[in-house]
């Protein structure tokens, strides 16, 4: 019987083609929004998790409590050599010197036995000049040991052309992908960094992070709010954005901080089997002893915090999309109600030839459910296309472009089931009215 009902319902849908398609369109729009938002949201979450997994959940970021005050995170400012006056720009951006964290990572390793390795990383804004242009750029200087142990924090530090930093005794610089374009330099060229001559030994692969915002620049404001977790998250995002950055080994850059702000952080890895939270507490105690109050935040804490925020955003967006779906369902109900009014006499005939109330109810519910299902199936397709093509757009807005939307089987099957259920539900009331019609009264209808 159900197959016969299905066939009859399909005939009914086909017989009122235009209205059916308009109704289906309403469901389609809702489902498209749900699928696109959830798949993009899941993609962002997955990308964030992957990023943290690359770094490792056993890693602890140590952020000095007074470290970033006055840090200048201005984006690159490039001018032709004749127009570039470092002293003038430096006056504008001069900040209190000595804002380095001052953390002695070697001492820290001795103080906290649970730590396996630790390294420092300092970021400065320095005048940089190539033959073509000059300006201020972000110069990040990891120690050689940091590069070896924590390159994941720098987005993997993937060299596309040339070699990496290895010799602390010579002036070598590795430039980010966009910095290389801005400075118009290639491997083998020489540039001035902080007034010293450096050889470009490598160019990094594109990190893919947005240039529309500067996560390090946001540190200042975030630091003021006092939330160390947010500071650490922003810092991680800023560090992984290598496109607009120059890299010089800390051993060579140590003397370049006299006139510009700088921000140093320390990264440590907890030994296998040791408790990360206990190590965090031990680090904070040790740093107090060093005279450098700092907050130690584990990557796991940051991941939880970011995932929580992303989850909330995803839930809000999905709720908005669900409203669109409900509007589609109301449209469906309206169509079914109109169909019952228009087909009252047909309902009477159905009853006259032996249809039971339940069969009439089933016919209209299946009719409505099928329209929901068709709208759902088309919506899944449209939502998938939308999220695939919309990824770049959303990525640029969120500042995360290296992700792909996630289309899970539960999402697709769940959406289809929900579309059919919602469609059927929307048809229940009109169908119930149809089933309750008295056959004689229905037959008398014009």
């Amino acid at each position: 019987m159900s197959r016969n009902l299905l066939r009859l319902a399909l005939k009914n849908i086909a017989s009122r083609r235009t209205r059916s398609w308009l109704t289906i369109l309403g469901v389609l729009i809702g489902v498209t929004a749900v699928v696109a938002l959830i798949s993009i949201g899941s993609g962002v979450q997955k990308a964030v998790v992957a990023q943290f997994e690359d770094i490792g959940y056993d890693v602890v970021l140590i952020v000095p409590r007074s470290g970033v005050a006055g840090f200048v995170g201005a984006a690159a400012s490039m001018r032709a050599p004749g127009q570039f006056d470092p002293s003038q720009i430096m006056r504008r951006t001069t900040v209190a010197a000595g804002s380095s964290s001052g953390i002695d990572s070697a001492l820290l390793l001795q103080q906290v036995p649970a730590l396996l390795e630790a390294g420092n990383l300092t970021t400065r804004i320095l005048p940089v000049e190539s033959e073509a242009v000059g300006g201020f750029l972000r110069v990040t200087s990891p120690s050689a040991s940091f590069l070896e142990a924590f390159s994941a924090i720098l987005g993997g530090f993937v060299i596309e052309d040339g070699v990496g930093l290895s010799d602390p005794t010579s002036n070598e610089v590795v430039v980010g992908a966009r910095s290389a374009q801005s400075l118009e330099v290639v491997v083998g060229d020489t540039i001035l960094v902080g007034g010293e001559r450096f050889a470009v030994v490598g160019v990094l692969a594109t990190a893919g992070e947005s240039t529309q915002e500067n996560p390090l620049g946001a540190l200042e404001a975030t630091q003021a709010s006092g939330d160390a977790g947010d500071v650490a998250s922003l810092l991680l995002r800023g560090l992984s954005n290598t496109d607009d950055t120059l890299f010089v080994l800390e051993e060579r850059a140590a003397g370049m901080s006299s006139n510009t702000g700088q921000f140093s952080t320390t990264v440590a890895r907890v030994d296998i089997g040791a408790s990360v939270s206990e190590a965090q507490a031990a680090i904070e105690t040790a740093l107090l002893e060093q005279g450098t109050p700092a907050t130690a935040i584990s990557v796991e804490e940051m991941a939880d915090s970011i995932q929580g925020t992303l989850g909330m955003v995803e839930a809000v967006l999905a709720s908005i999309a669900a409203v669109a779906l409900i509007v589609g369902a109301v449209g469906l109900m309206n169509t079914m109600y109109t169909a019952v009014l228009e087909r009252t006499r047909e309902i009477g005939v159905l009853k006259a030839i032996g249809a039971r109330d339940g069969q009439v109810l089933g016919l209209f519910v299946v009719d409505s459910g099928l329209m929901g299902l068709i709208g759902g199936a088309l919506g899944v397709g449209a939502g998938s296309l939308f999220s695939l093509f919309g990824t770049d757009l959303v990525g640029s807005v969120l500042g995360v472009t290296r992700f792909a939307p996630v289309f899970s089987i539960p999402l697709i099957l769940g959406t289809l089931a929900a579309s059919f259920a919602l469609g059927s539900l929307a048809g229940v009331w009109p169908a119930w009215r149809a089933a309750r019609l008295h056959p004689v009264e229905a037959l008398a209808s014009e």
Partner: protein, 229 residues
């Protein structure tokens, strides 16, 4: 045989009660053509609806083959209509979105027949009413007479004991109407009990039994042919 014993039927139209049948008692002979005549509002369609289990009497008993139809549940009434009654209406009442064959198949599909069974039976029924070359046509592509033939084929598809026709020629020209009446008349030879409601005096000549209603009461009962005593 269908029997109506002191049957009353009252309709409520808002605050007003309309007495459609006023204690009628009629025995309908099996396998004969009974014509029920009367003016508009005389209660003839109401009588047909009661016999066909589309409605229940307010008072009195409507029986068929010893079953009191008024005591049936909604589900049992639907089953009765599916198995025992085949309806033919004045306005044909075909599903506009289905072909002639699909319209005829419909009662079988509602009874859980397979598609192939329903198709074979509907094609056979359409051949019997002379529409073997119009099976795939939708009602809008058929003439009035053809549509009524489809309706008759649909009424017969479940092999019911009763064929109930409400003004079956009301929307047809005289010649087409005559062919439809001949078709209905012929059903009595197939062991069907045919009850035909009309206000057309000319049709009374075909009747084995003529019942005339006036204001909800039987005003005349006349066995017009040799087969009915």
């Amino acid at each position: 045989m269908p029997q109506l014993l002191d049957v009353y039927k009252t309709y409520r139209m808002g605050a007003v009660e309309v007495l459609a049948l006023r204690g009628i008692t009629v025995d309908i002979p099996d396998r004969h053509l009974t014509v029920v005549m009367g003016r508009s509002g005389s209660g003839k369609s109401t009588m047909l609806h009661l016999i066909g289990c589309l409605d229940t009497p307010t008072k009195g008993v409507v029986e068929h083959r010893g079953v009191n139809l008024g005591e049936l549940t909604s589900r049992e009434r639907a089953a009765f209509r599916a198995k025992e009654a085949g309806f033919v209406f004045q306005k044909f009442s075909l599903m506009p979105n289905l072909s002639a064959r699909e319209n005829v198949e419909l009662p079988l599909l509602l009874r859980n027949s397979t598609r192939s069974e329903a198709r074979a039976a509907s094609e056979s029924a359409l051949v019997r009413v002379g529409l073997d070359d119009r099976m795939r046509h939708r009602p809008s592509k058929l003439s009035g007479g053809e549509q009524q033939r489809v309706a008759i084929a649909r009424a017969l598809i479940n092999d019911p004991s009763l064929v109930l026709a409400d003004e079956p020629t009301g929307n047809l020209d005289t010649a087409t109407g005559a062919s439809i009446l001949a078709l209905l008349r012929g059903l009595t030879d197939q062991e069907k009990t045919v009850i035909l409601v009309t206000h057309d005096q000319g049709i009374s000549e075909l009747a084995d039994l003529l019942v005339e209603l006036q204001d909800g009461a039987v005003s005349k009962r006349e066995a017009t042919m040799r087969r009915v005593a």
